[in-house]
């Protein structure tokens, strides 16, 4: 087939476009980090999840090890049931603690995992038993005021 100059320029244009798309996908997007497809699910129950959202990161020692997969309200216990998808590369002991933490003062909320000492690892579908709920600012202020008031009564 005869090659024309137009072909060359179309080739240049399409290559530039595809490179831009791949650059966006790899360099800008999070295609390279943990994907939810290859991993195992565990769940945890919290009294209060605060502002936790689906797809929020799950970190252990600051490293992203998974993502939040789903959040539902358990109708029997009235607790928030959070399903978490962890990367296959990372195994955690059965007595791991899950806490809802905030990155920075105004940052997003994430789940922090702290490994325990159990020799058996979490299996797919297991429950993380030890949890710590999100800090609700109003409750914290309420406790602080109550403490202050009690202190004031004591000194009188």
């Amino acid at each position: 087939m005869k090659r024309t100059t137009v072909d060359l320029w179309v080739g240049v244009f399409v290559t530039a476009g595809l490179i831009a798309l791949f650059a966006l996908a790899l360099k800008v997007g999070n295609a390279t980090t943990v994907t939810a497809s290859n991993g195992y699910s565990v769940y945890a129950e919290f009294d209060n999840i605060g502002g936790l959202k689906v797809r929020a990161p799950v970190k252990s020692a600051g490293v992203v090890v998974g993502r939040v997969d789903g959040i539902v309200l358990d109708q029997q216990k009235y607790l928030a049931k959070v399903t978490v998808r962890l990367d296959n590369r990372y195994k955690f002991p059965k007595d791991t603690t899950a806490a809802i933490l905030t990155s920075g003062l105004l940052g997003e909320q994430y789940i922090g995992l702290e490994a325990g000492g159990d020799t058996a690892n979490l299996a797919p579908g297991d429950r993380i038993k030890l949890t710590q709920s999100a800090v609700v600012l109003e409750k914290l202020i309420g406790q602080f005021l109550y403490g202050k008031a009690a202190e004031g009564n004591g000194t009188k």
Partner: protein, 264 residues
């Protein structure tokens, strides 16, 4: 008095009926373009020429304006984010603004004024000089030979142009933010990667730009084909192409955004 009101009402009614009529014709036209597009696959050279015409020749304007939009975003974003002590989020701001909105929309507007107007003028003049009728006389279907390849050329070019626009814009934001102002390079990229999602942001941006490509190219083709076969008619048609596709792009952007970015 009553005569004047009567005339005004008739005028409004005429405009409405005319607009709806035109919309129906445009729908039938779209059907023709789509059903006769088999030839543009069988003879890829036709489509390739059109990609060159509307894509490659738009590269320079897209690259330069993407760069400048990125530079402005970097500068403005930094000035605003600095007040809240979160200049590290500059990468996120630049990338999300470009990938979600500015990339598809601004490149579609540029595409409409750079390539859309040229398509309308080309088709309009081909019709005015009876080249399209001549093709029909020779039993060559102008839809299969001219209009469909142009359509597919525009539809293929548009997402690629939008991606190039976004990539150049992010590079521009990087130049201003990291190289000139001195935001931490690691924070710039890592915050960007943490907050830009492949499916929710980048793929939706690509879908948006493909939809805009379809809309702009169809409007340009139809206005050209529908233009009165005079010099004045073609010039009005080119103006209408730019105005209508700009409005269509902005309206479609609102509709697509409200579908895509809810519940995130």
């Amino acid at each position: 008095m009553i005569g004047m009101m009567d005339k005004a009402l008739r005028h409004v009614g005429h405009l409405v009926v005319d607009g709806i009529w035109k919309l129906g014709t445009a729908g039938r036209f779209t059907g023709y373009v789509l059903t006769r597009s088999a030839d543009s696959l069988r003879r890829p050279q036709l489509t390739l020429n059109e990609i060159y015409f509307s894509g490659t020749l738009s590269l320079i304007i897209i690259v330069v304006s993407g760069m400048f939009v990125g530079l402005v975003l970097g500068l403005q974003g930094y000035e605003t984010l600095k007040r809240y002590g979160s200049a590290d989020a500059l990468g996120t701001l630049v990338a999300l603004a470009l990938v979600r909105e500015l990339g598809p929309v601004v490149s579609a507007l540029l595409f409409a004024s750079r390539a859309g107007s040229a398509i309308t003028a080309k088709i309009g003049i081909m019709k005015a000089t009876e080249q399209l009728s001549a093709m029909e006389m020779m039993a060559v279907d102008p839809f299969a030979r001219v209009l469909s390849p142009t359509f597919w050329g525009g539809v293929i070019s548009m997402p690629l142009l939008a991606a190039i626009f976004s990539a150049m814009g992010i590079f521009g934001g990087y130049l201003i933010g990291v190289v000139i102002i001195g935001v931490d390079s690691g924070a710039f990229w890592s915050q960007m990667q943490a907050n830009v999602d492949l499916r929710d942001d980048i793929l939706n941006g690509v879908i948006k730009s493909a939809v805009f490509g379809v809309a702009v190219t169809l409007i340009a083709l139809f206005e050209g084909y529908d233009a009165p076969p005079t010099a004045e008619g073609v010039s009005y048609a080119v103006t209408r192409t730019v105005v209508t596709s700009a409005l269509a792009v902005l309206a479609l952007d609102f509709i697509l955004t409200s579908f895509m970015f809810t519940g995130v």
